[in-house]
Symmetry: C2
Subunit: 381 residues, 2 copies
């Protein structure tokens, strides 16, 4: 048998299957990580599964139930799982118990669980006499669950900036027109909204574009709507006659909140009471990106898609883990810069991206637009 | 035999060979088109060749000489050639005569010669009893000789804009620093300089960066230096103590000129006399891009690489046939815009690119830069 480090080609084959399953949970399981599991016995897959939604069974338990439903005898089987099995009571009982009870004799793990709250599943399994092997396709697994790893490790959400610009880096003309600067790749934007747990825009964008900020354009897939977050320092939205007429209040998110979160330094809260049903207002004298991210972390939000505008992009660039930049074959010349509030020297202009690289570069079908995805290489900061 | 329109798979095979040969002449043959030819008899290539340099034999004659040197009998052979053979006395005698004399019985042509000065080679050959087939891999052939087609058809040079910017479309920081915004793909820039017959920069770029504007970084290939052209409206370079100290005057071009061409509206020509050996000064009250392009066309320059700076980019964007845009993982925020003198509305921002599409999109090896090539789809305007 061909060996790759501690693992064989066959091991890779099964872990790849587990990773494909894990991907199916992306967007649905936040703030949990997407995880997949495959159970193999005598060269055959006897059970498989993935974590489908927050609060539901973990991948390990889904795979075990699947194997039992198939009438399989799990004793002596090997489980391939993309994340170390948990050993704690959360919304569901510990996966370690289910694995031990089933009589599984070997567990191959892609990556360890960085969350101390999950307990030490590996030791628990080994103490029960199970052979635990760790590190197969670890990079791929970490990438799939990067929102979870970032938020558990750094105690702030994973931040993705998404902007659409002209070739010369403008996101709006001098009159502020910005809608559909890029167009053909909008499906990707709606997928991003689904994958991230929350979405952030400035009051300016709300007042100018009146966006819905929900997920659309999904074909045969039910996308989740993200939690909508508005940064409204001066209370421009709060001061409106009836803010709930805005489109952003017309769709609700699919997460536990069901409310729009609004950050403001505006003190007059006479309006806030009437909005209570639709808006969670968070008031603070000074609203920094760090304050917002810490607050969102405490609300168990693991990922934030920053959609603009220019001021917000400028403030959050230093916190970005990933950038989705869409460019159109357009030139504005004068107009609104994507990062209008930043003022770097040439020397400093690249420092920010020291640990980043271009992970994707694609052209639209009509060849009039392109997308570049820029990603932090490692989340272990 | 499989048929593709009028042609067979075998025809394609030989024309592909002729096109590969044609490419070898790119940059060396300006203002002529790069052309390749292959001669086939009884399923074998008996001769081949390409136009190597301006003033030297055309591809057809090179291939015929090659076949004769191989001791081949050309009677009844078929020639595949990427451009319609010429029927006029220029620097060399008509190719039609050589083909007829050799006894070649069939000529397959990729594309007709749009230059009326070349005569009607097709009719001449057909009148001599030769079977002439036209249109095999026409698009590919036109692309290779697009400088020639543009300049013959539109009576101005083919214009390529090349810029290097940050993600937010800046080409220099507020202090004017711009050197090596992108770095890893510099080899491509030097190849572009070789391929184009001339290169244009503004006085500002000369005074700020003091560039050589020659070709370097070629591995095992002798690149040609382009004709250097400076736009110096106010005579800022002419007014220098000794302009010939500038690096741009330290390398000479490999074309007939050997001189830098300088466009100016500056009237005091006391300095011009002392520069006569190194500079061709072209004086005009009003210097528009159109005036420059017409003048260069009259000087038989078929292609112009516009290298900056921002003002020059802004003025020539409307005349661009192709754009090489390099982007680095850098953000400047405030800084010099690539097209600082343009002011489009969002509605107008894409009109310019109606007939353009992205023809290439590549990432650098270190994944810190990317290049997008944008090209006019058709030169028949």
């Amino acid at each position: 048998m061909e060996q790759y480090g501690n693992f064989t080609k066959v091991d890779y084959y099964y872990m790849k299957r587990a990773l494909s399953l894990a991907k199916k949970g992306i967007g649905y399981v936040n703030p949990n990580p997407p995880v997949g599991a495959v159970i193999v016995k005598e060269g055959k897959i006897i059970g498989s599964g993935y974590h489908r939604a927050y609060g539901q069974h973990h991948a390990e338990r889904v795979a075990i139930i699947n194997a039992k439903n198939n009438g399989a005898d799990l004793r002596g089987a090997t489980m391939y799982v993309t994340l170390e099995p948990c050993d704690h009571y959360g919304k569901t009982p510990p996966c370690t118990d289910a694995i031990i009870e089933a009589g599984i004799s070997k567990v191959v793990v892609a990556t360890r669980d960085p969350n101390p709250a999950s307990g030490d599943g590996t030791t628990k399994l080994r103490n029960a006499g199970i052979d635990v092997q760790i590190g197969l396709m670890e990079e791929e697994a970490k990438n799939i669950m990067r929102f979870f790893i970032k938020s558990v490790t750094n105690r702030i959400p994973y931040v993705t900036i998404k902007y659409a610009a002209t070739l010369d880096g403008k996101i709006a003309d001098l009159e502020g027109n910005s809608k559909w600067i890029t167009n053909t790749m909008r499906k990707i934007v709606h997928k991003l909204r689904h994958e991230h747990m929350a979405i952030l825009v400035g009051a300016n964008t709300i007042l100018k574009d009146n966006p819905y900020l929900n997920t659309r354009l999904s074909e045969n897939i039910k996308y989740l709507n993200p939690i909508k977050i508005i940064l409204d320092r001066e209370g421009r939205i709060l001061k409106l006659e009836d803010p709930t007429n805005l489109n952003i209040f017309k769709t609700t998110d699919n997460h536990c909140f069901g409310k729009v979160i609004l950050f403001t330094s505006h003190k007059d809260d006479s309006r806030v009471k009437s909005l209570e049903e639709k808006v969670m207002v968070i008031h603070s004298e000074e609203i920094t990106p760090k304050f917002i991210l810490k607050t969102l972390h405490n609300l168990r939000i693991n990922s934030l898609l920053v959609e603009g505008g220019s001021e917000i992009f400028s403030q959050f660039l230093g916190f970005a883990d990933e950038i989705y930049a869409f460019y159109a074959l357009k030139v504005l010349g004068k107009g609104l810069d994507v990062f209008s509030c930043i003022n770097n020297s040439l020397e400093d202009s690249g420092k920010q991206f020291k640990d980043f690289e271009i992970s994707k570069l694609t052209v639209s079908q009509d060849k009039k637009e392109f997308m570049v995805v820029i990603k932090r290489c490692s989340l272990e900061l």
